[in-house]
Symmetry: D3
Subunit: 242 residues, 6 copies
Amino acid sequence: MRIKIVNPNTTLTMTSKIGACARAVAGPGTLIEAVSPDMGPASIESHYDEALSVPGLLAEIVKGEQSGFDGYVIACFGDPGLEAAREIARGPVIGIAEAAMHLGSFLGRSFSVVTTLERSAGRTWELAEKYGMARFCKGVHACEIAVLALDTDPDARKVVTETALRAVEIDKSDAVLLGCAGMADLCQEISDKIGVPVIDGVAAATLLVESMLRLGLRKSGRGEFATPIPKVYSGILSAFGG
Amino acid sequence: MRIKIVNPNTTLTMTSKIGACARAVAGPGTLIEAVSPDMGPASIESHYDEALSVPGLLAEIVKGEQSGFDGYVIACFGDPGLEAAREIARGPVIGIAEAAMHLGSFLGRSFSVVTTLERSAGRTWELAEKYGMARFCKGVHACEIAVLALDTDPDARKVVTETALRAVEIDKSDAVLLGCAGMADLCQEISDKIGVPVIDGVAAATLLVESMLRLGLRKSGRGEFATPIPKVYSGILSAFGG
Amino acid sequence: MRIKIVNPNTTLTMTSKIGACARAVAGPGTLIEAVSPDMGPASIESHYDEALSVPGLLAEIVKGEQSGFDGYVIACFGDPGLEAAREIARGPVIGIAEAAMHLGSFLGRSFSVVTTLERSAGRTWELAEKYGMARFCKGVHACEIAVLALDTDPDARKVVTETALRAVEIDKSDAVLLGCAGMADLCQEISDKIGVPVIDGVAAATLLVESMLRLGLRKSGRGEFATPIPKVYSGILSAFGG
Amino acid sequence: MRIKIVNPNTTLTMTSKIGACARAVAGPGTLIEAVSPDMGPASIESHYDEALSVPGLLAEIVKGEQSGFDGYVIACFGDPGLEAAREIARGPVIGIAEAAMHLGSFLGRSFSVVTTLERSAGRTWELAEKYGMARFCKGVHACEIAVLALDTDPDARKVVTETALRAVEIDKSDAVLLGCAGMADLCQEISDKIGVPVIDGVAAATLLVESMLRLGLRKSGRGEFATPIPKVYSGILSAFGG
Amino acid sequence: MRIKIVNPNTTLTMTSKIGACARAVAGPGTLIEAVSPDMGPASIESHYDEALSVPGLLAEIVKGEQSGFDGYVIACFGDPGLEAAREIARGPVIGIAEAAMHLGSFLGRSFSVVTTLERSAGRTWELAEKYGMARFCKGVHACEIAVLALDTDPDARKVVTETALRAVEIDKSDAVLLGCAGMADLCQEISDKIGVPVIDGVAAATLLVESMLRLGLRKSGRGEFATPIPKVYSGILSAFGG
Amino acid sequence: MRIKIVNPNTTLTMTSKIGACARAVAGPGTLIEAVSPDMGPASIESHYDEALSVPGLLAEIVKGEQSGFDGYVIACFGDPGLEAAREIARGPVIGIAEAAMHLGSFLGRSFSVVTTLERSAGRTWELAEKYGMARFCKGVHACEIAVLALDTDPDARKVVTETALRAVEIDKSDAVLLGCAGMADLCQEISDKIGVPVIDGVAAATLLVESMLRLGLRKSGRGEFATPIPKVYSGILSAFGG
């Protein structure tokens, strides 16, 4: 079983950390490959960044299909390009916000999300609504630490932990979701400190893809998520150019 | 990793089938035990049956906790006693409707449910609403085959398959959920015949429990799902009698 | 007209208080009988307690049907076993949360609920959602007084009253619902003190059952709430054993 | 206990029928007075008719307050002027759509509404949404019989009955609501013929007002539904002119 | 292109201000006429006031149709009589709450409403829900300045501005909607002071009506919003009396 | 006033038609420029196509900002890149689905959408939900004509018209929305034939942008839609590269 984790930003230290977190939970027979696209933003902190990350992300899915990967994780909490990826992949594709929210709903009545910047909160709410998870989401709390500063700011761990603790107190929630793939390595530490379960979407999505594969669940070949219709694409790389 | 699958009805042939379906997908290191309670209805086809199945089901969870099980599956599509079970178990508890619906939402925009009797449809809609999955559920279609007749009626496979096919055509849905643990063994066959993915909640829930365990996700010790407060219980077996 | 009020816990002093509150509002020709089941928890403060109260509660409904009761009230704010009770009763069955919430919606744009323990709030929200009343429910406020302490804690009246007052101020709501049958006798006193209407679900449900009976409204004999299908029940008392 | 039923149209034969239906269910000590306003439309079959019925209706509420009525029913299925009436009445005011929908939700999982003209269906859906009852409403089915023709068209009973039967079959619903006060007298007959409970909102609202009064439930004196602020009104009769 | 703005209260200084605000944004070829009805309340601050304003408002629409107006604005933030007005007008009718909320949804993820009195907040929430805009509305904030005091209270501008600023801070919203036609002239000033866009519904509705006209969009002649059926109206002026 | 209409596909004949439809409704002082990006798909018929159209679309917005455009229309019914575009533009950006749905909600209680391919229906429902317009959307009906075939298939007009007619009959809706920018020129013809209003989103969005500009409504400079944070972008053109 081969699962490709696509970190849609181009910061390879983060990709490497993401890969490690996925490997730490993957089953014995599962091969994890974590990659970043060749093109795209160094971090994703706006709708604009997200939009520009998608072509590179999709190119990685196309390459993944060509080299026989079985499933994919999109390792950014905005779940960019999820539906397009589902059209072009034969096997399952899971976003990390999607994974974290769904598993979060199994831990009680509610969860809180700890995100990087306040400006990302709107996207989180939008995804919660789209996945049917808004009823479980009691709050989205920003640390005001930029994505790449998670690794460089010496206070980052402390601030994220404190934000998680405050989130649980304000929201009276049963779990905390880490709202950025760059926080994946903090999961256990924060959980230990705040005494409520903390979910890293990267690990969660990896196991959901594994589960879908083990169950043999693949999209049907027809309808909204069928392979895109081949056509002419100008000035942009497409595997479906006619 | 030890997972206990509780079929909340007392029909052991069905329990045995359910156990086999769980074992077929469980990971190599996972031990599956499938049981029925000592007390309860032979099948669950009403709110009344569901209510009477719960004390026996909860007793099995209590026994499971005593003998060190790590997680639980509730193997009836009404997900009876799910919240009470979560209070008394330390580890994850997943219902098969819950599992099937969540995984179903990863396969496209919508799913249909194939259930046994029309009178069960209301409960399915209620669960879909509760889990946030109503937006994905496009229809609940009854076969009008009683639960225990799934194993004895020679036409059962044919009728369930035809109902699944009709469901997909009417609902234009991307997946079919089997709305009864007694249909677990039909999953692959129906999927092959109708050409869309079919989800058996037993297998799905087993892998979700495994995933939660692999991620170390356990409820927090406080709030709504904390261990029940010990007190006097009259005339009914309770592990929490004070 | 004979109405049976089932207090699903086994604390008879509370049952007696509940009966008195129902009788105080019932019409002249209405006979009220308030009972507790033989088996079940002394108080209901968790999903587990609620689940274990249901078989005893249903047995009381069955006995009620045998002795010709016309309708039933389920006198616990979690409305345990409501749907199962509706299947086995010919006449109306109303839960006290259901009754309080519906009448509460007639008093303005919103209500607040005052509950015993914080851990019960989740169930209240779930019922509000299920009954379509979530849009009216602006808050669920816990007194942190255990159910049975309502009668023994000398500060109970004061704390419940203060919680009701705070609820109205925070939520700017038009009415307060008493979130426990054990508070039934406080209704008038609190309303007088806080100057907004306060609803006791026991009295409210009694009058709703009376109203349904006076209107001759009985469930149809078919569909989801038809009498359960007779079958084998093991190790548990059932009136529908085949 | 004195309850005033306001039929907001000016057709007195209909008012008289409405009064009889209310009296048939009211408790022994309850005095029912059914009136029509002096001004307004002969029947209500549009938003325009509804709007023009409201000043006359409100004038009847004001007169009712002056002569000491305890509560009010608004006997038109569009529930015109309900919120304004609640502002100016000290006691409870219930609309017949409101009453029918709430009681309908106690009879199972769903109800259907049988209305007069197709053009009225939108208003019914709007009220269902507003009252939180949309989740119970499975369909609104028009007879295409004008309001006043209910009493003159020899086929009216037959057509309404057939529409109710078709509604239940299509919607698989557990109850039927009569979507016009002019159908109040058909309630028992249709219920007998179609074998599912049928609710007349006039009778239902009468008993809900009685129940509210018996419970001593009156709006709080503050907030959205407080008495209107006195001011200058030009060219229109107002009891609150400053 | 001729657009009639109906201020449904009878305070002509406010009507005059409203007309000026509409003219300030209308296109070069558009003729704006702002009127008040002959009958109705001096200001609209309750459901009762709103109800009594509607007949006069509708009479102005009827007169407008007779003198060939192309479209209408209802210049009160409760959007009184909107649906009735749509039945009797051939061309578009837009309410100022409707206009402000829809345009507000184009400016980001959320808006706040600044209203006059707290008791009006309920109506604003109801309209937001009805128009599908509740997901964008993060708060309704009262100034506790009466409608007519907006022009006479020397502190009014300051209080409205401060309320708008506080609304944006509390709600973290992307825009502010002025919740009363009497605030129309404050729009630019407040926007400049608080640094977020502020929407005056009068100007917004004027341009939406213009847009509908320019697009040739007129209601269909059938269904819910068709011309009312002619009939007898007693004691009230109606253009549709039979 | 200068408005740029971006057709996010690269088919210039369609762009030209779109420009003509916008110019036909724009005000006298408004300059319309309709463009296609240099890169992207020839038509947009999948999530994949949509994703690949966005970078080119955003580049056009950036160029538009540099050359002083005041506002933008995104002329594809999937509203691709709408939120990213709002981040990078100073003035208003409106999508044609957004525009059509909002104006559609002013014409009655409901609208139907006529789309090209069935596989696009899911995206339409998603947008309706996101904009709060799902309550107005009664159906999405596919013609099964590919986007570019709208101009080449001799039966296209007939099929789109028939689909619109059928949509209105099935859905009993008050308006039809054309679900593809390539249908813009059919608007008047279909409306005339089916007798209900038909909305072309291109024209609608053009007038909404004009209205926003006339009202001086520009996003606030802060929060979710503030200008993206400058950073390194690899292998893809970005105006915000740090």
